[in-house]
Symmetry: C2
Subunit: 360 residues, 2 copies
Amino acid sequence: MPVGTQGMVKTLSPDELIDVVDAKIILGNTYHLYLRPGLDVIREMGGLHKFTTWEKPILTDSGGFQVWSLAKLRKISENGVEFSNHLDGAKTMLTPELSMEIQATLGSDIAMLFDECPPYPCEEKYAANSLGLTTRWARRCKEWHEVNASKHVPWQLNTQTETLHTNLPQQIFGIVQGSTYADLREQSAKELVEIGFDGYAVGGISVGEPEHEMLRAIENAVPFLPKNKPRYAMGLGTPPQMLEMIARGVDMFDCVMPTRVARHGLAFTADGPIHIKNKEFEFDSTPLDENTHPSLQKYSRSFIRHLFRASEMLSLRLLSLHNLHFYLRLMSDSREHIAAGTFSKFKNDFNQRYLNSTLQ
Amino acid sequence: MPVGTQGMVKTLSPDELIDVVDAKIILGNTYHLYLRPGLDVIREMGGLHKFTTWEKPILTDSGGFQVWSLAKLRKISENGVEFSNHLDGAKTMLTPELSMEIQATLGSDIAMLFDECPPYPCEEKYAANSLGLTTRWARRCKEWHEVNASKHVPWQLNTQTETLHTNLPQQIFGIVQGSTYADLREQSAKELVEIGFDGYAVGGISVGEPEHEMLRAIENAVPFLPKNKPRYAMGLGTPPQMLEMIARGVDMFDCVMPTRVARHGLAFTADGPIHIKNKEFEFDSTPLDENTHPSLQKYSRSFIRHLFRASEMLSLRLLSLHNLHFYLRLMSDSREHIAAGTFSKFKNDFNQRYLNSTLQ
């Protein structure tokens, strides 16, 4: 899932996300959209889909991760998290119920439960207590959602659920926590499955831990999640990391990496990432990658390098489009190879070329 | 003409310029492109058209105006202008011959002669001397162009002139100077016409003078320019100013205003400009303007305001697209009304609504 922090993926238009990236779903950030433009605007405009003109599915996070990473003066209690926001410092209390209400008002197709994301490294006792809190919050989220969501989700207000983006009511996903502790990950997964959600995420990863810990967290959680429900790894990762997680049973990812590094001039290629501002591309008339989208084939590395050095926004857009296209093609290739039973060879071939290139 | 300072119009892609803006020609800045990426890159990439993927005509300015407005430590002599560039302070000598050579190497369809642009206000004696220099430089430009251009213009190198953008050799336009002095404007125009160019521009306007002086400069120059050659007012202006200049016989404009003000959140409408960040648009579900391009109709002022306040580049792009579409539609409407003999009424109706709106 490309990430649309403020409602739309940075530098891109909804049309480009469909025509070039072929995105089937994007992620919106509850924390950011709650602060600005705020729920009054979203409600008045008929929800996030109508507001942003994005007619395909949207997943919203719960806001918990941004409170953890952006806000100041956080105070966690049984009731929720009190924090000063990063825009004007105003104090806000975010509870499981409020997170669900915001996500219902945004009208996302998939809402995430409100969890506590423990830091890395994390003592076992803290991780266990935090996990307990996340499970109790998960129950409160589900309870609020069952009773109230349909009164807030714009496209469910008239008991109508058939839209351009879904014919289901808003779905809600649980988030497995438990830090680096295998027994805690197992406990979290089992508790969430018992409560029952439409899908399950593995959270608390990509928070600074080494790669092997990240993969272990996946390995410790996935076996305890139902095979017939989506399994989602939150906030990841490099192309090889994603293939490793797919190999471990992950179905979904969100990732700011393709667009964030694009804005710093990095492009993904089958031979590893390249830094477009490097001198070696000054006279390079080839496209960013041999398999980039047809509409991007005409732009030479030389021209994109020039635009990037001249601080022209078009360069950030072309790099973002290319990188998202690269990532989503990696995902669709993976799906094809899984179906054909050739995923393992595909992964090894990809990694062989990507990781061993002289470009690295 | 939309302005593509660094080779492409800021925030936009070549495809958007054709599909949404319906641009027939854009302007490239000789000064900027000479400094970066430099002629070696442009030459190796086959000229500015191939480098930027823009397949329609390009006009390049001579670099003189940017030397005047951006560079430091300028020293004007009979030979040319010595200056320290604004990027790294390196000293460069720009001469009429070098300006022509750069423009030929860029491979623009229309090259402008290298002139001196006197400041406003300007003493008559300075203006007269400057005008003399501009005329002498005009002769040197034409001389160099006649002998050498075909050896540098990428699409003329093999005596081939038929391309996607033109079937003519590179054209060269003169620039009428003379500041605010009617007799000097007349003298300049007559001297240039005697040398003979493919088109004629009025320069030294939009340099800080009041609007009536700007219109007087046009009135003082246009009557002495051939009716069967394009007449081009450089670097202008507001929509009403452009209509006034069209009424005085101007055929062409370049103008950074639609894109520059877009990046500051201003959108042009039939009822005058609006500032998208204003609170009044917070809940406004209407498009930027009732007649904006169909592909932009779906974006509400509310959404664009949100994107702008969140510093999202997409807002700058949408505003740039809209403003250029507004300007180029104003031009095509003007052409239609001129052909139908109804331009004067059209201009008055437009100004009536645009200038008297409560939005002003």
